[in-house]
Amino acid sequence: MSEKDNFEPVIVGFLCNWCSYRAADLAGTSRIKMPPNVRDIRVMCTGRLDPVFVLKALREGADGVLVMGCHPGQCHYVEGNYKTMRRMALLKRTLRQFGLEDERVRLEWASAAEGPKFAATVTQMTETIRELGPLNWKQLLGGNGHFRPVLEPELEEVAA
């Protein structure tokens, strides 16, 4: 119990350049306070988000991954976020099979004007992960933490 109390989750945030990164900037300019647990990485579009990035983050020690993009219909690149929605759904299904709690990987939307929403999402996500406790990736995979069989596309092996 006490370990859980001291637990400071580490969450990697993947933010799209146009909406959610700017929402985070806006939260900053508006000085909206939030927990420091989400560390963000900027991508041009959530459509750039290779599911491998999420796995990589979890493997490297993240307790959760928060992906945020433009609202559906408002993607700067027309429809990149729709592709992310599909990819995330598949990824989450796979992760569920490995016994990963659904709440650890989350896809949310925030427009450039939604600084408060960004802050609220970060706060909520942090609390959720805090409740869940640390992620033990290696134990989850029952091995050395490598995820090769699922990750490495067969094609590459063929090509190699």
């Binding site: 909206i32 991508v43 750039r48």
Partner: protein
């Protein structure tokens, strides 16, 4: 990658960052990261001294990569890239860590904020190691400009550019340019006649040799990028041949069908099925409204055609599609008025003598349906008392949270016009706060105080004809709390004018999407920077002016129109622009030709080349979103500046161990 020499610079930003983040500690800590050659902290990195620090280190210490931990890259990435370039380092070998907006400004606890800063710096250091030198792409600027929206902001912008000698396409949805300003009678606070100051500008815009006016037209498609847009415009069928029409107006006179004019007359007056919105319309040609035309409904009538002296009526006319090539776009599509029927307790539509502001504008206009007399809905009776209700749908989370900015002033103008035209009439203005910031605005308010307007500080609760006490019979009762008295009041009046919010055009989000820019949650288009770059947008080459960006009065709209024109003229004069080289590249040697990426691309920038059987990216069309990169099953599409290895390295860097525990072993990239 090994053997790179990275310089790390942590900015204090005065106390903005240093007040929360221990910048010295971050700099000290970063010095131990792999490949870091030098790590410093400085009070203002963006100052010329701060930039020189970077430049000197590049030259003296032979830095091959630079990381600045400061504000958002949207703020100063360009600044520091410039510094790198001046010192001879490719500007793309630079990375920024956002420790202000994403750290010091949003966290209270210094130790935690410092730790997060370290993680962000580590991420940037890891990432920058894998950066590659890139060359920005050059694009020529087509000197023609598209202006969308022919209200006062659009007219101003079009005239400025045309006067400077460059071609302009001015697209207007309605049959005439002029916008909302053409509907008004007087303008606050000077009370000059709106038509008198606007119509000369409309005439100039309609007749300028450099302006191609496309009225009764709408933009349907936009392709391309700054300097090189291709725009498709639908020119709706007017059923009048503009070549032949002289604008004599006989057709309108002879047309037997009269309909309520919901646009120009705001529903308060009528027009014919073939009409010109108002006598000074530009262009002068009328249009046939096919929905109300008797011929289109029943197949006979053609009165207009019979009487037209130049045989200009053409019932067979069809919509035309025009394609234009432009270098820049100015969006000035204006606003809609809030529909007051959404607040049923204000009685609009049920109580005859409740009017909207635009209805009243038309009523007081000498060219309007009542020839300028202020009368009740019966068209005859003059009101003995008028209530003017501010903030209808504004400053209300149920409708629009924002203040519409212009309503206090035009409500005061209405009060003045009632005093002027109907001396002795009692006027009550119900307001929450009186907002009169502007040159001569507060003085105008004082004038109204002198004129004897009753000001009641309280938002109107309801407007009803349900009589509660004697004296209320036959009146409309406005019920509100007089908050300065702290008591409920019921004021019986003959006429009520609602001052509705101004809101984004109903199709604003569609327009934003069409032009690839973003809008706020209430659908105003978003400017690049609210203070320092108010008319540019996040998309190069697309500018905004007037109420499309948010509520504005006429002087502000005109100023923005001119400002947008100045920005466009700057680009045209420059002749060329640099484009971010963030593009996808396919390694054709390894491409299996599966074509998955072809369908992924929202811009159709990837073509399948039959001969070698591989896909290829057209760099002119690619916008660098990276969707194809993430989709490629063979991992052979590279997103320049957002490559897999760069992002993988960034992930490793951001998850650096900070609590002194064992670092995570095996940090090889998964795809490596």
């Amino acid at each position: 990658m090994m053997g790179e020499k990275i310089g790390v610079y942590v900015c204090h930003c005065g106390s903005n960052i240093a007040g929360k983040v221990d910048v010295e500690e971050v700099a000290r800590w970063a010095a131990d990261l792999t490949n870091v050659e030098v790590s410093r902290h400085y009070e203002f990195m963006c100052s010329s001294l701060g930039q020189e620090l970077v430049e000197n280190d590049i030259q003296e210490k032979g830095l091959t990569r630079v990381v600045v931990a400061a504000c958002s890259p949207h703020m100063h990435e360009r600044t520091f890239r410039g510094a790198c370039a001046r010192a001879g380092l490719n500007p793309y070998l630079f990375e920024m860590a956002n420790v202000r907006e994403h750290d010091s400004w949003i966290h209270d606890e210094p130790v935690q904020a410092t730790n997060k800063a370290k993680a962000l710096v580590s991420a940037a250091v890891h990432r920058v190691t894998y950066h590659e030198p890139l060359e920005p792409m050059q694009a020529k600027i087509n000197p023609a400009t598209l202006v969308v929206g022919g209200g006062v902001a659009g007219i101003q912008a079009a005239l400025e550019i045309a006067e400077a000698g460059y071609p302009v396409y001015l697209v207007e949805r309605e049959p005439s340019i002029g916008g909302h300003m053409a509907q008004l009678d007087k303008t606050f606070p000077t009370l000059d006649c709106s038509a008198c100051i606007l119509t000369p500008k409309m005439f100039d815009a309609g007749n300028h040799p450099n302006i191609t006016l496309l009225s009764y037209s709408e933009v349907e498609g936009v392709d391309g990028y700054v300097g090189n847009f291709t725009v498709t415009i639908r020119k709706k069928a007017r059923f009048v041949n503009e070549e032949l029409c002289t604008g004599c107006g006989i057709c309108t006179e002879k047309c037997p069908k009269r309909v309520i004019d919901g646009v120009f007359e705001a529903g308060l007056g009528y027009r014919k099925a073939i009409y010109r919105p108002f006598p000074q319309a530009v262009p002068k040609y009328p249009v046939i409204d096919a929905e109300s035309c008797i011929y289109f409904e029943r197949g006979k009538c053609k009165a207009c055609q019979m009487f037209c002296p130049t045989e200009a009526i053409d019932f067979e006319q069809e919509d035309g599609i025009v394609t234009v090539e432009v270098g820049n776009v100015i969006l000035a599509t204006g606003y809609d008025l809030f529909d007051t029927r959404k607040i049923p307790q204000y009685g609009y539509g049920r109580l005859a003598n409740v009017f909207t502001s635009l209805e009243f504008e038309r009523m007081v206009n000498a060219a309007g349906p009542t020839a300028g007399s202020i009368v009740l809905r019966d068209g005859v009776t003059t009101p003995g008392s008028v209530a003017i209700v501010h903030c209808v749908g504004s400053r209300d989370k149920n409708y629009h949270e924002y203040c519409s900015k212009i309503c206090c002033m035009y409500s005061l103008k209405f009060a003045h016009l009632v005093h002027e035209r109907l001396p002795g009439t009692e006027v009550y203005n119900f307001y929450i706060d009186m907002r009169t910031p502007g040159k001569g605005y507060e003085e105008f308010y004082h004038r109204l105080l002198e004129e004897g307007t009753h000001f009641i500080r309280g938002r109107v609760a309801e407007i009803t004809d349900a009589v509660r006490r004697p004296g209320e019979e036959g009146k409309i009762i406005v019920q509100a709390e007089d908050t300065l008295m702290g008591a409920q009041r019921r004021i019986p009046v003959d006429m009520v004018i609602l001052s509705p919010a101004i809101q984004a055009r109903h199709d604003a989000s569609h327009v934003a999407h069409l032009f690839g820019i973003s809008c706020s949650h209430d659908n105003w288009l978003i400017e690049k920077h609210p203070k320092l770059d108010p008319v540019a947008t996040m998309t190069d080459g697309i500018f905004i002016a007037g109420c499309v960006q948010g509520p504005k009065d006429i002087p502000d709209s005109v100023a923005q129109g001119a400002a947008a024109a100045a920005r466009v003229l700057g680009l045209i004069t420059q002749g060329e622009v640099e484009l971010e080289p963030v593009r996808a590249i396919i390694d054709e040697e390894r491409c299996s030709g599966c074509r998955i990426c072809n369908n992924m691309c929202p811009y159709h920038a990837i073509d399948f080349i039959e001969d070698p059987g591989v896909s290829r990216v057209n760099p002119a069309l690619c916008k660098g979103c990276g969707t194809c990169v993430a989709a490629c099953p063979s991992g052979v599409v590279t997103g320049a500046h957002f490559s897999n290895e760069q992002i993988m390295a960034e992930i490793e860097g951001i998850l650096v161990s900070l609590d002194g525990k064992e670092p995570i072993p095996e940090v090889e990239a998964l795809t490596a």
